[in-house]
């Protein structure tokens, strides 16, 4: 079962507001300020909608893709690209860049919306971090050494595309 906020993306009421705009950049902006995309963004950031569930949702959407026929769900796909635009995770990166790279006549608007999101992602600042740890425990004349970064994860947390489960 998909989250209701994802379900709204495939509704006719949602598609109606974007399907009759010819300029993909305008579609991008309209999606960006739509309530539905706003709700999806907040559901993602609060963990109500996980990247795993988005992947499943996309797979479901793409079942309607038929060779030589205009894709009927492309506004949902475009909405996902916009919702993930500022999200700096490997999944979001993979989704928007892969969609932007497609060269398909079946889904011209979603691809162009994704290209706009990629352009915008390229304007986001990059964060680069290096860590150092004090080498001795007693804080005497110790020295900082570059640290091997070990990321702690919790059961239930989504890391990249994986859900951490207890063994």
């Amino acid at each position: 079962m998909t989250h209701p906020v994802l379900d709204t993306l495939v509704s006719d009421e949602f598609a109606l507001r974007f399907a009759f705009v010819s300029n993909p950049r305008a579609v991008h902006r309209a999606l960006q300020r739509s309530e539905e995309v706003g709700r999806l963004r907040s559901a993602i950031s609060q963990g109500e909608v996980t990247e795993c569930s988005i992947r499943t949702f996309i797979a479901e959407l793409l079942r309607a893709l038929e060779y030589g026929t205009r894709f009927p769900n492309e506004y949902a796909l475009a909405a996902l690209a916009v919702a993930l635009e500022t999200r700096l995770t490997p999944f979001a990166e993979e989704f928007v860049t892969d969609l932007a790279r497609l060269d398909l006549a079946e889904t011209p608007i979603a691809i162009r919306v994704a290209r706009e999101t990629v352009r915008r992602r390229l304007r986001l600042p990059i964060n680069k971090t290096k860590q150092f740890t004090l080498s001795n425990g007693d804080r005497g004349a110790g020295d900082w050494r570059e640290a091997r970064v070990v990321r702690r994860v919790a059961v239930g947390q989504v890391v990249g595309d994986f859900l951490v489960e207890a063994s």
């Binding site: 963004r41 999200r87 700096l88 990059i126 971090t129 290096k130 900082w144």
Partner: protein, 134 residues
């Protein structure tokens, strides 16, 4: 060469994965340490981060840069920590995170930021002894 937008030393930093907005917590201006004879003194902070944000200038594309943080602590030789980067985007944030703080003596702890070996900015932290002035 990229130009510096800001440089700060703070206790911790958080980058929102959703919006890529950065939040800096507890910018370090002063530190109070126990008297030197107190061998069991607790550190005033257990970690700190040197955060710098750089703007790309024309011609910076595809060039390699090195940011160096030089820490000058009273009575000790300066220590250097470097990070190489490229200005792939219009803005680049660099964070050097330090876990653990060595024993500090009262005086000025100065953080010097250099780009390709050239001085760019200072951040100074005043270290006070808790016994000072008593």
């Amino acid at each position: 060469m990229p130009n510096l937008e800001y440089f700060l030393i703070c206790e911790s930093i958080s980058t929102d994965q959703e919006t890529n907005r950065v939040s800096l917590f507890n910018v370090i201006e002063d530190l109070q340490v126990g008297p030197p004879e107190d061998a069991a003194q607790q550190p005033p902070v257990v970690q700190f981060v040197a955060v710098s944000c750089w703007n790309r200038e024309s011609g910076d594309e595809d060039k390699d840069f090195q940011a160096t943080l030089r820490i000058h602590t009273p009575g000790e030789a300066p220590k250097e920590f470097s990070m190489n980067f490229q200005m792939e985007r219009p803005r680049q944030r660099l964070s050097l995170r330090f876990h653990g703080v060595p024993k500090l003596s009262p005086g000025e702890m100065r953080f010097e930021l250099c780009l390709n070996g050239q001085h760019v900015a200072w951040h100074t932290v005043n270290v006070f002894s808790s016994g000072a002035g008593e």
